[in-house]
Amino acid sequence: MKNSIAERVCDFLKAYPPFDLLKYDKLLEIAEEVVIIYLEKADVLFKEGDSFNEHFYMVRNGSVSLTHTHNDTQEIVSMSDAGDIFGVRPLIAQENYKLTATAHEESIVYAIPIKGFQLAVENNSKVYKYLVTAFATNAYDPYTTKENNEIFVDYLPNNSHDIVNFQTANYTKNPVTCSEKTSLRDAAIKMSVLKIGCIIVIDQEKKPVGIITNSDIKNKIATGKYPIETAVTNIMSSPVITNKKDLTVADGQLQMIKHNIGHLCITKDGTINSKLIGVLSHHDVLVTLGNNPSVILKEINRATRTKKLRTARLKANTLLKNYLEQNIPLSHIIKIISQINDAVTFQAIEIALLKMPTPPPVKFSWLALGSQGRKEQLLYTDQDNALVFEDVPKEKYQETQAYFIELAKYVTKSLNKIGFEYCEADMMASNPEWCKSLTEWKNQFKNWILKPDEKAILLSSIFFDYSRIYGDEELVDELSNTIYKTLEETSLFFKFLGRDAIKSPSPLGFFKQFLVEENGDQKDLFNIKSRGLMPLIDSARLLILSKQIKGVNNTYERFEKLAELEPNNKELYNSCSYAFKALSKFKTKQGLLHNNSGKFIELETLTKEEKLKLKRCFKPIHEIQETLKFRFDLKNFI
């Protein structure tokens, strides 16, 4: 029987190696056995440690990330795009998966049956050669040449153009050492005084013979296995893994993963038989890889393709995590991450402009809305954006708008590829409703302000927090001026905003219990966004608009500004600012932990202290809502 779908699968496969080496009829046999899998963003295809499937995979649309768990953190090892194969480990060795495959965006994947594939390629040594060399040539380190059967393409970072990865690793010179005769107690005292996590044991010729880390002391001394006066040689890990000093970051990381260790010894000739000159720790690698915002920004500004923007943005997440762990002030973290998000959008627009057949017909500005507009976006969120262009004669309007919609489509598509989901409510510049001329936008805002209704208020909460990311400044200034002028004409709009800001009451119930979701999947979870953050965001917006303050978009900065303007309410505003920062941090940590937006919190997983901290944040919410009721006379309006 004719199978057109198999033929189309076949057409796709044959464009990519190793399938291009196969004859059409053989390939069709494989194609007929393919399973087409649709993956939502974040769907997991296989997990590290899972026993192997009967398929290996090729990405048809979208992208799939391959991650490896190391020291309890997920590290992205590689990213597969359309035409890339992955999950090939079972093809070579009957072993469990060593990586986790997760859809990085919505994707369609072809699952190719291993049996069928092997049957079809049996006599085709070229195909096997391709597969084996594809795996083996990716091996950089001296160990793999011996064991190249065990090295797989999906085991290695494929961002090989990434300059950071190929920097020479910045190792610690003159590491702390001790002799073989030292007692463990003395070694530990030395580590404690110098506040370091490891010490290298060297012999008389300064060759490294072993290493002692905190965990060695925990596992071998604290458990009572060895007395505290024992010689260091009894508990050190030996032999150490050594390397030459010119190793790259990628090499260093790879060896650590391979040997499941946290430290590499750097010796003069790279073997254990020469003098120790330094130590490269896992921490050093992380610092070079992701801990440096200026490196990330440089990488963003240099990016000429969406793929590279994505790699750079992914690093920002590592950065975010480290910052939170290090307890760096949230206002600082927010600034850096916003800077990175804005830079990513800016560069995405530059790339999109190159794809357009002609330069823009008139001046325009790209606006970020919602949380990005407020510059307080930490995790990946939905994209909310809009575009405003200079006024054009009526007969040119459609043509001009069409140009910018096309531009916006390129931009939103690459933002989506980078990790920012399309806005569920389609509040994006690619939607004709939100891609308009200056005059049209002025009318739109006037309309919302002068004739407020439910829908206008729903949209206002997103559109009034805009900020310019790209393009002409004057356009945006003019729009802002019109908005503030219109606001002077009415107070009704403020009442509507006020009603919205007080619609979720204080998150604590009568008995000081948390109000949790009552039904649905999220039953018994606490919605920190709608119950904690939104009332604060809405209140800050209303107050700042009513005071005609321009250019302060951050919720916490808005409260700080208000504290400055109204000294008698200073305490309340400052506590709101604090509460906002604390709640955002809470949400971000939860989000990183569960790899989602962090919106819903499982109260049972919180410690008592955390619960108290949360509760403390809710007091100002109640107070600010009371203030709004009074100030905008909302009692009778509800």
Partner: protein, 222 residues
């Protein structure tokens, strides 16, 4: 014998394959959306008049969850006396084409055996349903018993409330491909369109509110 008239209906001489088809519905119980078998299908026809026009080809793919097995897809071409030159340019099916053709009765048998009690998914489902139903009635059978989901209707339901007023009455399959970023492979062959419809359906499901809308009351309502 109050139910005599009812009883009489049942004793009508139906062929075994139809009784087997009906039988599947007797034991049916509602399962969760994730474990239900769906069949996305499409027909290519000689035109849009359900009485005068005929089905030339049926393509379908079945799926449970998010995986579609290529070798379990369905593709048949039907021998018909009625033929119209003007629709050839859409579906490319000629009267004496190279595809292996079967009779209408064989086509019905194969299709019913394939769909069983699955929930049928089609774009502008009422058209495809009517065409298949007419085919069944011509051979002395009854209408399809399966539940239907129309991807056009479902898409409208899935849109955010603030855009309700600007929704189009009709979305073509091409509109939805564009909107949902579905690759258009083999558009205008029955099985190609069936696969595209399956993707469209899965993508709409992924956009629905998982807490509220992934249940039968919502999916099957019109």
């Amino acid at each position: 014998m109050a139910f005599k008239w009812f009883h009489k209906e049942k004793t009508k001489d139906y062929p075994d394959f139809w009784l087997a088809y009906l039988d599947a519905f007797n034991t049916k119980k509602k399962e969760s959306v994730e474990s239900t078998r769906f069949v996305a299908f499409d027909t290519e026809t000689t035109g849009f008049d359900r009485k005068k026009d005929r089905v030339l080809s049926i393509g379908a793919v079945a799926f449970v969850g998010k995986s579609i097995e290529v070798n379990k897809s369905f593709e048949i071409y039907v021998e018909q006396d009625i033929f119209k030159g003007e629709t050839v340019k859409i579906h490319g099916l000629m009267k004496k084409g190279s595809e292996e053709k079967i009779t209408e009765l064989e086509a019905i048998k194969a299709f019913l055996l394939y769909i069983k009690d699955a929930i049928l998914v089609a774009h502008h489902a009422s058209f495809d349903r009517n065409m298949v139903n007419e085919m069944l009635l011509r051979h002395g059978l009854d209408k399809l018993k399966n539940e239907f989901i129309d991807t056009g209707v479902l898409f409208n339901k899935s849109k955010h409330v603030i855009y309700k007023e600007s929704l189009q009455e009709h979305y073509s399959l091409d509109d939805l491909c564009k909107e949902l970023n579905v690759p258009k492979i083999d558009r205008h062959t029955a099985s190609g369109d069936a696969l595209i419809t399956a993707f469209v359906f899965l993508k709409i499901l992924s956009r629905l509110d998982k807490r509220k809308h992934l249940e039968w009351g919502y999916l099957l309502s019109r």
